[in-house]
């Protein structure tokens, strides 16, 4: 399948008089990891419930794998792997049993089932723990099992709702690695998160939602560029000499000198840093320290919504 894995047009959902989601135009191209970013209550989960056919939209339409979710909910569900936000379920089933049951619920033919279950458990590194009860799993193991189950039927789109909520740092990194693996394997992922660093680490494109509306969409790099330039900061004993040398160079946007610090505004700080150092050497400027700063998605979020993300760390 090529083109768009998810397309929504003017999608909206009202609860009573509260607009949980309004007028959302979402496009997730096949093979990309798309992030839905926003604080709690921004409308991420409501959007996901509509895409997974759990909730009927009150306005607009949504297509998953080319199927209108309102007209063909049952068929659309076959193309979706959904990993919901689970609140600490402690199933008295082993990991393998859970996966087998979910494989059956996805109607994977019995002769393929066991092979497929072993395949996804292996992919997520769960084989050593496959025959332990899920109730004994750590949070990280549990999330990896959820991910494994989401992949059983080789869905066209994997929808992850807060996949690392409440995990410790190593487990989080592990989940990230697995999502990256999926992306590298050509999978399409829609990922809802309120962690900005997670969106930055995983997503090809990000849509920021706030109070049910799309605020801005773009690649993390684009969004950060919109917010502000990268800055290389050099501390030296000859700040004015370095400032004069850099001002007017084609790749330098602006130079500011404050005390011993020279701030050089550039398009891309990591690649500009060596050039700044070379200029310093050419003009015989002794550099004491050189650092750079780039806007983070936190800055993007604050810039576009005017408030701080609830999940920002």
């Amino acid at each position: 399948m090529t083109g768009e894995a998810i397309t929504t047009t003017g999608l909206g959902r009202v609860f009573g008089d509260r607009h949980a989601v309004r007028d959302l135009d979402l496009r997730v191209p096949t093979g990309q990891v798309m992030g839905l970013l926003g604080p709690n209550g921004a409308g991420k989960t409501t959007t996901i419930r509509m895409l997974t056919t759990l909730l009927a939209p009150t306005s607009g339409s949504a297509r998953v794998a080319g199927l209108d979710v309102r007209r063909y909910p049952a068929r659309a569900r076959r193309h979706i792997g959904y990993v919901p936000q689970e609140k600490g379920v402690r199933h008295l089933l082993t990991g393998r049993e859970s996966a087998e049951i979910e494989a059956d619920l996805h109607h994977i033919p019995r002769r393929e089932r066991d092979r497929r279950v072993t395949e996804v458990l292996d992919l997520l590194g769960l084989l050593p723990d496959a025959d332990r009860l899920v109730s004994e799993y750590s949070g990280g193991l549990q999330r990896r099992l959820d991910l494994a189950c989401g992949l059983l039927h080789r869905p066209d789109v994997l929808i992850l709702d807060e996949p690392t909520l409440g995990l410790d740092v190593p487990s989080r990194r592990q989940v990230w690695d697995h999502v990256r693996q999926l992306r590298d394997g050509g999978g399409t992922v829609l990922l809802a998160t309120n962690y900005l660093d997670e969106a930055d680490a995983l997503c090809d494109r990000v849509t920021i939602l706030d109070r049910g509306r799309e605020v801005v969409t773009g690649t993390p790099a684009e969004l950060k560029r919109k917010v502000g330039a990268d800055v290389v900061v050099v501390r030296t004993r000859q700040p004015d000499r370095l400032g004069r040398a850099l001002a007017g160079l084609p790749w330098v946007r602006q130079v500011k000198v404050v005390d011993a610090d020279v701030s050089v505004f550039v398009a891309d700080a990591p690649s500009a840093l060596p050039a700044v150092m070379a200029e310093a050497r050419r003009h015989d400027v002794a550099v004491l320290r050189a650092t750079y700063e780039r806007p983070t998605l936190d800055d993007v979020f604050v810039h576009f919504t005017g408030h701080v993300a609830a999940g920002a760390q």
């Binding site: 609860f15 076959r78 619920l105 109607h107 039927h153």
Partner: protein, 272 residues
């Protein structure tokens, strides 16, 4: 790259898939029940304690003329079965309640299964659980000396009556679990409903021995008719009105299941 194409599968395939999903759901309910050993053992034994201690203890106080038989244990046998069915119907909805509260139900409903399968699998499973409980109660009753007027075929019909009542009440509590706002409401409502349902019936006291208004209330209670049917089979004997009871209970079960399946078509209650 998908296993299933977008096209609608053939009828035979759909039936096979339906059987596969029901089997998987039943397996999940079964494994979760048997892995809670203490819960399982107590669930099975508790009704028999009722029969022994209530039947033999309270039985000594009871005026045999009032209950119309000198076999009080035989008299309350339908009542004990009825109270077991009520308990079973409530606890039968609890796994669904937890699935809803943990978010697993959302996952289930996002899968390509028939929405009715969750309801149907839970009903089937609970009928089997109640069946085992009832068999155990009947065994204890026979050991205690209860002689069943209609013999073994009568026992099978007593089990059928219990099964119909289980289907009806479980459907109601499943709908409450699915649609209600959460476990507090569920346990409050089910706890509130259980005792009146049991006591405002002829489970332990015959209608004739009740004050008039109470007998009137009891006549509105479906449990009364299940008790009448079982009591007729245990103490009375074969009688044409048994047909009426069975037809009435079947209709009641059909209405409850229809109402519950309509409830399951809608969005689950509770947090959005």
């Amino acid at each position: 790259m998908t296993v299933a194409s977008g096209a609608r599968p053939a009828r035979a395939t759909r039936l096979g898939q339906w059987a596969q999903e029901l089997r998987a759901l039943l397996r999940r309910w079964y494994l979760q029940l048997v892995r809670e050993r203490a819960h399982l053992v107590l669930t099975l034994c508790q009704p028999a304690f009722w029969l022994v201690f209530f039947g033999l203890g309270v039985g000594g106080l009871v005026d045999h003329a009032t209950v119309g038989t000198d076999d009080y244990t035989g008299f309350i046998l339908p009542g004990v079965i009825g109270s077991t069915v009520i308990g079973s119907a409530i606890s039968g909805a609890v796994p669904l309640l937890w699935d809803k509260e943990t978010g697993y139900l959302h996952k289930l409903l996002s899968m390509p299964i028939n929405r009715g399968s969750v309801l149907l699998s839970r009903l089937l499973f609970q009928v089997v659980v109640t069946g085992v409980q009832v068999a155990f109660i009947l065994l204890v009753a026979v050991v205690l000396g209860v002689r069943v007027a209609t013999g073994f075929p009568g026992l099978l019909l007593v089990s059928l009556v219990a099964a119909l009542l289980t289907v009806a009440l479980t459907a109601v509590f499943l709908a409450l679990a699915y649609h209600g706002p959460g476990h507090n409401t569920f346990f409050t409502v089910s706890g509130f409903a259980a005792l009146p349902l049991l006591l405002a019936s002829n489970a332990f006291v015959p209608l004739a021995a009740m004050p008039g208004w109470m007998a009137a209330v009891a006549r509105l209670n479906p449990l009364t008719y299940a008790n009448e049917a079982s009591r007729q089979l245990v103490l009375g004997g074969w009688h044409p009105r048994l047909v009426g009871y069975l037809v009435g209970l079947s209709l009641f079960a059909a209405v409850c299941v229809t109402a519950a399946s309509l409830a399951f078509r809608k969005q689950a209650g509770g947090a959005p």
